[in-house]
């Protein structure tokens, strides 16, 4: 569904993505992990067309995303740090996105209701706490029932209840057949959600494996331990 072919990106002299190739299929739930600054967010932003790679191609549903924007209809994106126009209220932001998307399909208001955003519609974005901003981001990501969900540190900053609500929603989307790409440092949180793991380091994909294969290969019980095990083996 999403194919990344030999993508390279530099920020100044720093090479953030190094001739990276990946393939992600429908129905997969992928954990994108790696140390800080390994290029996870840049990779995500490249898929969204926010960062334009120098080389290589990103192919979405068989078409290259270069000079295209319609493919983003199918993507729900939740950024790591949501940045919104400060003077707009929650209600205005949601209305604006609805207006700009201009879609007639029924909206998915589950998260909107469960996060009780309707009580805070008049709050300005600038006054919101980090967690509430994340709730708005999550609501927007799921609002249009997208085929692909890209979640950058989705549970960071959320309280345990909200984080549980979001996790349930992610599982529901996975079962519906969405392609889900999650980055997170809390591997334990991803344990019961993900089916694949991509491990990145310094702009390269070090590992792209099915979770069960990984556990069997390393003889460990959890994803976190398997990764640690692999890293130790490499350094030895």
């Amino acid at each position: 569904m999403i194919e990344i072919k030999n993508v390279t990106k530099h920020f100044g002299k720093l090479r953030v993505l190094n001739n990276l190739s990946l393939q992600m299929m429908k129905g997969e739930c992928i954990a994108l992990i790696g140390p800080n600054g390994c290029g996870k967010t840049t990779l995500i932003k490249s898929i969204l067309g926010m960062v334009l790679p120098e080389n290589g191609a990103i192919i979405f549903d068989g078409y290259t995303i270069k000079n295209d924007n319609e493919y983003r209809k199918h993507i729900g994106y939740m950024p790591q740090i949501g940045r919104y126009p400060e003077n707009m209220t929650i209600g205005q932001v949601i209305d604006m996105i609805k207006g700009i998307r201009h879609e007639h399909t029924a909206l998915d208001l589950d998260l909107f209701e469960q996060f009780e955003l309707s009580k805070m519609l008049d709050k300005k974005m600038r006054t919101l706490s980090g967690g509430t901003t994340q709730k708005v981001s999550a609501t927007l990501a799921f609002l249009f029932k997208p085929k692909v969900l890209i979640l950058d540190e989705p549970t960071a900053g959320l309280d345990p209840i909200a984080s549980e609500v979001l996790k349930r929603k992610i599982i529901e989307a996975r079962d519906r057949g969405c392609l889900i790409l999650i980055t997170s440092h809390l591997l334990s949180e991803l344990e019961d959600i993900v089916s694949q793991v991509i491990f990145m380091q310094e702009g390269n994909v070090v590992l792209h494996k099915d979770v069960n294969d990984l556990k069997i290969a390393t003889g460990q019980e959890t994803i976190a331990r398997s990764i640690v095990h692999l890293l130790k083996m490499e350094t030895v």
């Binding site: 926010m50 924007n69 319609e70 493919y71 983003r72 209809k73 126009p85 700009i100 998307r101």
Partner: protein, 255 residues
């Protein structure tokens, strides 16, 4: 694009700076016309105020607004919206609001006190100047990510166009007075939109003494009607080129 423009317009309308700017322009122009007993004198006063304040306020407001719209741009880019549409909507929204402020603030007194021909040319010049300032602001925004730097660049450009330029031309003229440099000076005057606007209006008013050096030569060179056409064309280029340049860069920018 209309949909994006709607949200930009709502946001700018909520901004009180544009309203304050309209009131300021209105105060200046009404008082200039009522203080002077003769409308032509009043017009010159208004002209000088307009040539200084319109570019300054427009360029500063537009620069700050674009930087503050960063979040708005980022939010939209992850949705199915063309990048060029976002940039164009911002440009049109800002230009429209500043042009409206100018039309209300300066336009009404102009139409009441000055003769219609002159008033219309002055209105056109002021509108063009507003749009040009917005285009220049867009260009300085796209060149640097740092807000303070961007505002600095904008102010420097204004300073250059509004104050330094005529001085430089005059200096060059004195330095090279022994040579036939008239043609070169006409060519030079195309390099400042504010000078072009001054020339445009003074060609119409026919007061060569006030034209500044470039203006006088411009008149000599082109005569009145050709001068008008040439200066309008140049002014149009002055907003088209910076804006299209910034648009090209924006399409390739990493957000």
């Amino acid at each position: 694009m209309i949909r994006i423009l709607k949200y930009v317009a709502i946001d700018i309308l909520k901004n009180k700076i544009v309203i304050a700017y309209t009131i300021m322009l209105a105060l200046f122009s009404w008082s200039a016309f009522s203080l002077e007993d003769n409308a032509a004198k009043g017009l010159l006063t208004v002209l000088n105020i307009v040539l200084l304040t319109v570019p300054l306020v427009s360029v500063l407001f537009a620069t700050i607004y674009v930087y503050n719209s960063n979040e708005f741009i980022e939010l939209l880019v992850s949705h199915p919206v063309k990048r060029s549409m976002i940039w164009k909507a911002l440009f049109i929204g800002l230009s429209l609001s500043l042009v409206t402020a100018y039309l209300i603030g300066v336009g009404i007194p102009l139409l009441i006190f000055a003769d219609w021909g002159t008033a219309l040319i002055m209105l056109a010049a002021g509108m063009l100047l507003s749009v040009i300032s917005v285009a220049i602001a867009f260009l300085s925004c796209i060149f640097t990510r740092d807000k303070a730097k961007g505002i600095g660049i904008s102010i420097l450009l204004w300073l250059y166009f509004a104050l330094l330029f005529d001085g430089i031309v005059l200096f060059l003229f004195f330095q090279f007075a022994d040579y036939p440099i008239e043609k070169a000076v006409v060519f030079l005057s195309a390099w400042s939109p504010i000078d072009l606007c001054r020339i445009l209006i003074l060609l119409r008013l026919d007061v060569s003494a006030m034209m500044g050096y470039t203006g006088a030569i411009f008149k000599n060179f082109f005569g009145n009607s050709l001068g008008l056409v040439v200066s309008f064309t140049l002014l149009a280029l002055w907003f088209l080129i910076p804006f299209l340049w910034s648009l090209r860069k924006f399409k390739k920018k990493d957000l």
